[in-house]
């Protein structure tokens, strides 16, 4: 069995009576990129803070690489790297001084090559003597990311790492995340960018106080939309709704030459459906599984939850 880098059991957090995170149970395996999605105020940041040993849970427990976050928060903090929601850099200090300060805090060797490595990686090397206040928002974000990587953490919490970055910088960060996961680092990624989550994450968790769903992006889509198929016709069919007349068709949407049909069991029922359509005079070009984006899954789940 793969080792658990992050294990949460019934983790809850209350703020002045309001429940921010409700009995979250979760296992993230070593080397996994785990995406954490949810609407604003869903409890993502609160979860990261609990898992990184920054704030204590109201109840429940969590282990990071086997270390209990409540019993040994300091050890947890030395194991993990956290990219916080806002970069929180020292504006008056230079780029270099900011990183050097954190390198010293983690007790890295005074001449650690890590600082130069990340500054070059993020294209900040030329700006290393500039005060942070002179950097753009995206540069600050990259610097904060470099800061969270300095001590080579095995588990990395990234709270919206690409928010505010230009497409190129966002890609640098995404490539870096992919490269880090190649090094068997565990990455816990909070994001609002569904495309990014789909691209990067091995598994995704949807949270809205409670953990709504966990699975690979493929599983999530399959689970919700696996029963939909799309049929493309050469030309539109007249009054299909009334003529189709098959008991197993659960839903039908006609978009000119495209039919989106919901079935109970596509594997068994597709042949029957196709035969019937041909009988009705359809000239079929393609039949395929509905290709839904993660966005649809996300929106549907979040909406269901608020009903």
């Amino acid at each position: 069995m793969a080792t658990c880098a992050i294990l949460a059991e019934e983790l809850s957090r209350r703020f002045d009576g309001r429940l921010a995170v409700d009995r979250l149970s979760l296992a993230v395996y070593e080397g996994e990129v785990f995406g954490f999605l949810g609407p604003n105020g869903a409890g993502k940041t609160t979860t990261v803070r609990m898992l990184a040993g920054l704030i204590a849970p109201t109840s429940g427990r969590a282990l990071i690489a086997g270390v209990d976050v409540v019993a040994e928060p300091q050890r947890v903090r030395s194991l993990v790297g956290v990219l916080t929601e806002s970069p929180g850099l020292y504006e008056k200090l230079s780029v270099w001084q900011n990183l050097q300060f954190y390198a010293d805090l983690y007790g890295l060797a005074p001449s650690t090559p890590q600082i130069e490595r990340y500054l070059r990686l993020f294209d900040l090397w030329e700006r290393r003597f500039d005060p942070v206040s002179a950097l753009s928002k995206g540069m600050k974000q990259k610097l904060a990311l470099a800061r969270s990587l300095l001590h080579d953490p095995k588990v990395l919490f990234l709270d919206e790492p690409t928010a505010g970055l230009d497409p190129e910088a966002a890609k640098t960060v995404r490539d870096l995340i992919a490269a880090l996961s190649q090094e068997r680092r565990t990455i816990f990624l909070c994001t609002h960018n569904l495309h990014e989550a789909e691209q990067l994450c091995d598994r995704i968790g949807l949270i809205k106080q409670r953990l709504l769903k966990v699975g690979t992006p493929h599983q999530l889509k399959r689970e919700l939309y696996g029963h939909q198929i799309v049929v493309d016709l050469k030309k539109p069919l007249e009054s299909l709704d009334s003529q189709l007349n098959l008991p197993f068709v659960k839903g039908l949407r006609v978009e000119q030459t495209r039919l989106v049909i919901e079935l109970e069991n596509p594997q068994e029922q597709n042949p029957l459906l196709v035969r019937r359509l041909v009988e009705l005079g359809a000239e079929i070009q393609f039949v395929r599984e509905a290709d839904r984006s993660l966005e649809d899954v996300y929106l549907q789940l979040v909406r269901e939850e608020s009903l």
Binding site: L54, R77, Y106, G107
Partner: protein
């Protein structure tokens, strides 16, 4: 303890780029202090005309006041700096990434206190040195020996032991309060108008009673050291990481 110094050095680096506030503390205040003491010396008039007994009394009164001055000095300077040190972390939102490192609460707290107290003490010593030089020139020959005999040890104990410890005490108290108040402005007000006056009053009355017996002064200083350790523990309890992270936004 290593991490404490790392944070102290960071504080100083930041302060060096800080501008006006820094200059007020490090240059303007010592100059004012020196000016007042020298003015007091001048206004006493010609000391050589006084009889032995009167002279002794005048010198005692004068130098008690001077010492008190130099004792208070390191307590007042850090007040502005220490609240600012927490306020700037708050404004830059830099506390969360900082607290995400293995840095412990007491280390952070002690670092903030020391980074304010150490410069204050050093400035006090430097100012005192200049004061001694000036007054040494102003006093008629022979009098300086008397002053040194009566006040030398007390001055040493005051500057090396009592004043730094008292400064830590006051600074730590106002910082502990600053971490519990949700906004920096009320923290500043509370520490300037409540904590500082009360602490100053208490310390001054203790100090005045102990002044002329260096042994008492050492005793009081040790007591203050113990008190500081207890206070650090209390401050760490009061400094709830959580509230800082979640309330200060």
């Amino acid at each position: 303890m290593r991490r404490v110094w790392v944070v102290v050095l960071k504080e100083w680096r930041e302060a060096l780029k800080g501008g006006k506030l820094l200059w007020v503390g490090t240059v303007a205040l010592p100059v004012i202090l020196l000016g007042i003491s020298v003015y007091m010396m001048l206004s006493v008039g010609d000391l050589s005309a006084l009889e032995d007994e009167d002279l002794k009394m005048v010198l005692h009164t004068l130098f008690s006041v001077f010492l008190l001055y130099f004792m208070l000095f390191p307590m007042i300077i850090p007040n502005a700096i220490s609240v600012y040190a927490i306020m700037s972390e708050k404004e830059q939102k830099s506390l969360e990434p900082l607290l995400a490192t293995p840095l412990q609460t007491w280390e952070l707290f002690l670092a903030k206190v020391l980074s304010a107290v150490i410069p204050a003490v050093v400035i006090t010593w430097a100012t005192f040195g200049v004061f001694v030089l000036i007054v040494g020139q102003m006093l008629p020959a022979g009098l300086w020996e008397i002053v040194w005999r009566d006040f030398g040890i007390a001055a040493l104990v005051t500057l090396v032991l009592f004043a730094p410890l008292a400064s830590v005490f006051v600074t730590m108290t106002s910082m502990a309060i600053a971490t519990r108040t949700s906004d920096a402005r009320s923290a500043q007000l509370l520490s300037s108008f409540v904590v500082l006056p009360i602490a100053l009053w208490a310390l001054v009355s203790i100090y005045q009673n102990a002044l002329l017996q260096p042994a008492n002064l050492v005793g009081v200083s040790l007591l203050l050291l113990g008190l500081n350790i207890v206070l650090l523990k209390i401050a760490v309890r009061l400094f709830r990481r959580e509230e800082i992270l979640t309330r200060w936004r």
